[in-house]
């Protein structure tokens, strides 16, 4: 069981870091390839002390997320790059179900391109958001895939927002 758990933890780490790399590179289809098409659910949530409620700012299944990616070329977006720096802090593994739960702290930076006054600001990097990934990861057939990702933000002011998932 020990080796199996170690292997699972290794697979979880690799999947989470790969998910950051694909998003950072805006390789949307590569990101979707990491997700379980049948059950994947993605959401961005936070707690608002202003209205004293948990709130959800985005929720999509696999198909919905794919639509967002497919339609990006039709939208006017701030095309500044978002860079996700992640550290996996905790992995729980259920060998019976072949499912892992992972807690990852994530910091997201924005490097300006054309969001505002590119003459002055393009190339400048600033902090965009901090929060956590709370992932459910399937480990069937030796391949890890994302079944669920909750992006729990600590940051509640995200400037002009983004068309990209975090």
């Amino acid at each position: 069981m020990g080796a199996s758990r170690e292997m699972a933890v290794q697979q979880v780490h690799e999947l989470i870091y790969e998910s950051c790399l694909t998003l950072n590179a805006e390789k949307w289809n590569d990101y979707l390839d990491l997700c379980d098409k049948a059950v994947f659910n993605y959401s961005i949530v936070n707690y608002s002390p202003e209205i004293r409620r948990d709130q959800c700012w985005m929720e999509r299944d696999y198909k919905g997320l794919k639509s967002i990616f497919d339609l990006l070329p039709k939208h006017n977006s701030d095309r500044s790059q978002l860079t996700r720096h992640a550290t996996v802090y905790r992995v729980g593994f259920d060998p019976e179900q072949n499912v892992a739960n992972a807690l990852t702290l994530v910091t997201i930076y924005r490097t300006q391109l054309d969001g505002i006054n590119s003459h002055f600001e393009s190339g400048a990097t600033s902090l965009f958001a901090v929060g956590k990934y709370m992932d459910v990861i399937g480990l069937d057939a030796g391949k890890a895939n994302l079944k669920k990702r909750v992006v729990a933000l600590d940051t509640r002011q995200v400037d002009i927002g983004s068309h990209y998932p975090l």
Partner: protein, 430 residues
């Protein structure tokens, strides 16, 4: 014909061609006022001049009714909510033990400290230096009850003898009313008329949706955006910019009846766009809205802009209300709330939230595009940039792309400011 006169004729013909086809302009041409009535264009100094901004705070924001939060944010007795209006004035809103909602300047009369610091809470929770049920200034422990009375001054007699007492030191209370879907409205002018006089009949076409059953907030976001407050509000007042939004083009502009949508201007600068039907499923991955508000047809959309900086937008299943607090000529705090019905089941609420976030969430499709534009506008027309005039001259029989919403805003702006928006150095009564 001599070769010289032929050349002159050719040049004249070329000039004529240019005037029809147009060309880039030199500085003198760029600086000319548009050949339009003064009501149909703006001088960009209305966005950039610090003196005009100060005057706007004084003559507009300090005088009109402003929505600042929703009653569902203070649902229990002694709940409070801090906010701010009109530039940098801090406000605290409190629901009293008598269930009445009151608002106060959130400033201690002793040494000017902020009294309530948290965004929201309940006075029953107490604080490290004060008794539960009161608002306590942590600096010297002065306490105020939920009606604004000063109820505690530590060592009052020892320090002030008979020269000053609690009875004289209450908080500054603001005119407060709860209306139009349960919003808390305040007015800094003690001598203002009632809220109903200010809003007039602007809300009539949305009253059934807003006031049949209680609403409840489910979404709150804010951002300090680098733009002038009017530019942000103007994006809600003109729909010609639907060209910016792929979502609106697909679900609205390309659909039958879109261009028939009526635009109505009301007294005091308010303006509304009437009911239209949106084809939500024309946006790939979306679906028709299954929920609505009382009295609202499925997939309907109505919008009301309240002068000088609030928008109620009711899109079938959810209501978005945006309010703003101007900070400077090129900075504004924007607060956006999403609402459903208080009686929603959890499933209904989830559906409303999904619908809301698709368009208006910080990761939605439209809000990001609007914010991108207003920031870039602000960059392009900052003082000294060379920008001169903006036009608001579309006339389309008061339908959706008519810029009557902008013109009615500046008509009211000019009335209150005593300045012409097309030339703010001139008085409007000249």
């Amino acid at each position: 014909m001599s070769s010289q006169s032929a050349a002159a004729e050719a040049q004249a013909a070329d000039n004529g061609k240019q005037s029809k086809q147009g060309r880039a302009r030199n500085l003198a041409e760029w600086s000319q006022r548009p050949n339009l009535p003064g009501t149909h264009y703006l001088d960009t100094r209305v966005y950039t001049d610090p003196a005009i901004y100060d005057e706007e705070i004084d003559k507009i924001w300090n005088k009109v009714w402003l929505p600042i939060c929703h009653e569902s944010e203070l649902s229990a007795p002694l709940d409070f909510r801090t906010s701010g209006v009109a530039g940098t004035k801090p406000i605290v809103v409190v629901r009293g033990a008598d269930n009445k909602i009151r608002s106060f300047l959130n400033v201690c009369p002793h040494r000017g400290n902020i009294v309530m610091r948290a965004p929201a809470g309940n006075l029953g929770e107490g604080s490290p230096s004060g008794n539960p049920r009161n608002m306590t200034c942590m600096f010297h422990g002065w306490q105020f009850d939920a009606t604004g009375r000063c109820v505690e001054i530590p060592r009052e007699k020892a320090g002030y003898q008979d020269r000053l007492c609690k009875a004289q030191m209450g908080l500054r209370e603001l005119r407060t009313e709860v209306a139009h879907g349960g919003f808390v409205w305040v007015n800094l002018d003690d001598n203002c008329g009632p809220l109903a006089d200010f809003t007039g009949n602007a809300f009539d076409f949305m009253a059934t949706e807003l006031d049949t059953v209680p609403l409840e907030v489910f979404h709150y976001q804010k951002a300090v955006v680098r733009t002038n407050f009017k530019l942000w509000h103007e994006t809600s007042r003109e729909f010609y910019h639907d060209y910016l939004h792929y979502h609106n083009r697909a679900t609205g502009m390309l659909q039958k009846g879109y261009f028939d949508r009526k635009y109505t201007a009301f007294p005091n600068g308010h303006a509304a766009t009437g009911l239209t039907s949106i084809t939500y499923d024309a946006y790939e991955g979306a679906k028709d809205r299954g929920l609505t508000f009382p009295g609202m047809p499925l997939n309907g959309w109505k919008q009301l802009n309240i002068f000088p900086g609030c928008t109620y937008s009711l899109r079938a299943s959810c209501l978005r209300v945006s309010v703003m607090t101007p900070i400077s000529t090129d900075k504004v705090l924007i607060e956006i709330r999403g609402f459903g019905l208080k009686e929603d089941t959890p499933e209904e609420r989830r559906e409303r939230i999904l619908d809301h976030d698709t368009i208006w969430g910080p990761f939605g499709r439209n809000l990001h595009e609007d914010l991108l534009v207003v920031q870039n506008q602000s960059i392009a027309m900052r003082e000294g940039s060379g920008s001169k005039y903006l036009v608001m001259a579309r006339e389309e029989n008061n339908t959706i792309h008519d810029e009557i919403g902008l013109r009615s805003y500046y008509e009211e702006w000019s009335r209150l400011m005593g300045r012409l928006a097309c030339d703010p150095s001139r008085r409007s009564d000249e």
